[in-house]
């Protein structure tokens, strides 16, 4: 546990020392701000983040989170620092969890900055706190899943660009395309594609429902990708 805390501190520190994290935060805030300003923040519209979160937040996170996770492991492999890490008394699981949580805490900071929008809305009309909480729970779970996928692809390549492109492609497929693709196939592939459709699972959180099914989907898929990342790091020792 102590090792995980040490890793989280180191990863968060690395974020604040690297220009990429600032650029990514700027892009995130600009994009969500644009979606909020044009879509929600106007006369007669509903005083909730619904239209922002229904589509735009997902799209933005598909692009923003892989940019946060791409360097987590691939940079260690490229620069060789992975050798110092894997010869210190810390397990692969602790390394992966520490890196995951470091990125997740950074993501929470971004979400915290996004609270500005409901505060703005509240000055013009009543914002439903329960709905907002529900939206945020959805975003936590969505972010955790995306970060675990990004971390996995970061463990797959020593090139950040390859890691980020694979993550983009995979997340876009999982989030937006799998429902459509499911219509084109039969049998178990259809069931699988329907099951992994992130958009479908996320939709209830947008509407203000916390369904345990969806919570379990997000948590287990996140755990699966973290597990795969640990296995991938263990495997690369042999190469």
């Amino acid at each position: 546990m102590r090792n995980i805390t040490t890793m989280i501190q180191r990863e968060l520190g690395a974020y604040f020392l690297s220009p990429i994290a600032y650029a990514v935060s700027a892009v995130f805030l600009f994009a969500t701000g644009l979606a909020f300003g044009l879509g929600t923040f106007r006369n007669g519209a509903e005083a909730s983040l619904r239209s922002l979160i229904e589509f735009w937040a997902m799209l933005i996170l598909v692009f923003v989170l892989p940019m946060l996770t791409m360097r987590l492991l691939s940079e260690e492999y490229r620069s060789g620092t992975i050798e110092t890490l894997l010869t210190a008394p810390i397990s692969e699981t602790e390394i992966v969890l520490g890196k995951f949580l470091g990125a997740f805490v950074f993501f929470l900071i971004l979400l915290g900055a996004m609270l500005l929008y409901p505060i703005l809305l509240a000055t013009f009309g009543p914002v439903d706190p329960a709905l907002l909480a529900c939206n945020y729970i959805g975003l936590f779970l969505l972010g955790a899943l995306y970060i675990s996928v990004g971390l996995f692809f970061s463990a797959c390549s020593s090139h950040q660009i390859i890691a980020v492109l694979l993550s983009f492609a995979f997340l876009a497929l999982m989030t937006f395309a799998s429902q459509g693709l499911a219509q084109t196939v039969e049998g178990w592939p259809r069931a699988l594609l329907q099951h992994v459709s992130v958009r479908t699972h996320f939709f209830d959180f947008v509407r203000g429902m916390v369904d345990l099914n969806h919570v379990v989907f997000f948590l287990t898929t996140t755990a699966l990708f973290l597990f795969l990342t640990v296995k991938r790091v263990e495997m690369r020792r042999w190469q």
Partner: protein
């Protein structure tokens, strides 16, 4: 302290380390010497628990590097080749991070950082971002990290590579100093360095150990086989016959050039035939203008054994 038994490592079809066995006693500096690609880094990586071996075993103070990896990692300080570091961190932050990974609390970290800053002459560079440091300074930060938890065993992969001559001398002195209370295994492809810093040398080529011993022992092994070279003025066949007839001479090669006969004499091991050779030429009134034992440097030995080993490998491949 370190015991390596029948260690083999394959990367796919490539055999990097081939059935290597050796041991390192407590205390002192042991040099791991070999040409590039001989399997030095691979062996050190197995010992530092970075990579598992394909076959064979390795233990550090009785702990198996594969089965009891965490214990070994706590005992060992490891400096990988070219000292990889995080460029965005300051040296102090980096060492603090490394100290915490090894289970030190903030106070212990601070004390350890002060100690290694002094030991590795980091000075004011301790508060600079690592990305701004020179190659030599980075190497020192890496070394500082390796000795921070006062490990019983230090494994250093090419600790002086990329340093300037002054830094090389400083690093060698530091290693010698550290050798007084740590067991050090270091790799190098520079013979001179191993000769200067190490108490014992293990020569490895093409994944196999070809010789071990102190630099002095290796030199003795070599001088036992030293040839004697002489230049004599006289009839070539007669000279050859007479020298061949001397006691202790195994073989003579004679070549003639502008009236002089050049002799290369191979004596029996541990035998010096120079005196007998001089008496012979004096009694026959042949003029002798050169008489010497051919250079017995560690360098020749190194080139000899590694070349022989590599040839052997080529032969096996052809078969």
């Amino acid at each position: 302290m370190i015991q390596v038994t029948n260690l083999t490592k394959r990367y796919g079809p490539v055999l990097a380390v081939d059935d290597v066995s050796f041991h390192v006693e407590r205390g002192g500096v042991v040099g791991f010497l070999g040409p590039n690609g001989a399997g030095k880094t691979t062996t050190l990586r197995i010992l530092s628990c970075y990579q598992p071996a394909t076959r064979g075993s390795a233990t550090v103070r009785g702990f198996d590097v594969f089965g009891q990896s965490m214990e070994v990692r706590r005992l060992v300080g490891y400096l990988p080749e070219s000292a990889p570091l995080y460029p965005e961190m300051r040296s102090r932050e980096y060492l603090n991070f490394r100290g915490k990974l090894r289970g030190m609390d903030s106070q212990e970290c601070r004390a350890a950082i002060n100690r290694v800053t002094e030991r590795c002459w980091l000075g004011e560079f301790i508060d600079r971002p690592i990305g701004h440091l020179s190659k030599g300074m980075k190497q020192r930060v890496g070394l500082a990290d390796a000795i921070m938890h006062n490990p019983e065993v230090l494994i250093l992969d090419e600790p002086t590579i990329g340093l300037d001559p002054v830094q090389i001398r400083e690093t060698r002195n530091l290693i010698k100093e550290l050798g007084e209370d740590h067991t050090i295994l270091l790799s190098s492809h520079i013979l001179h360095e191993v000769e200067q810093t190490c108490d014992r040398t293990i020569i490895i080529a093409a994944g196999r150990i070809v010789a071990t011993g102190s630099p002095q022992e290796l030199r003795d092994q070599l001088s036992a086989k030293a040839r004697v070279v002489a230049e004599v003025q006289g009839p070539i066949e007669e000279v050859r016959g007479a020298v061949q007839g001397l006691e202790g001479v195994l073989n003579v090669e004679a070549t003639s050039s502008d009236g002089w006969v050049r002799l290369a004499v191979e004596p029996e091991p541990q035998r010096d035939v120079r005196e007998a050779l001089f008496r012979l030429t004096a009694s026959k009134s042949w003029t002798l203008r050169e008489l010497r034992r051919e250079g017995a440097t560690l360098e020749d030995f190194f080139v000899q054994v590694t070349a022989r080993q590599q040839q052997a490998v080529i032969h096996t491949d052809n078969r």
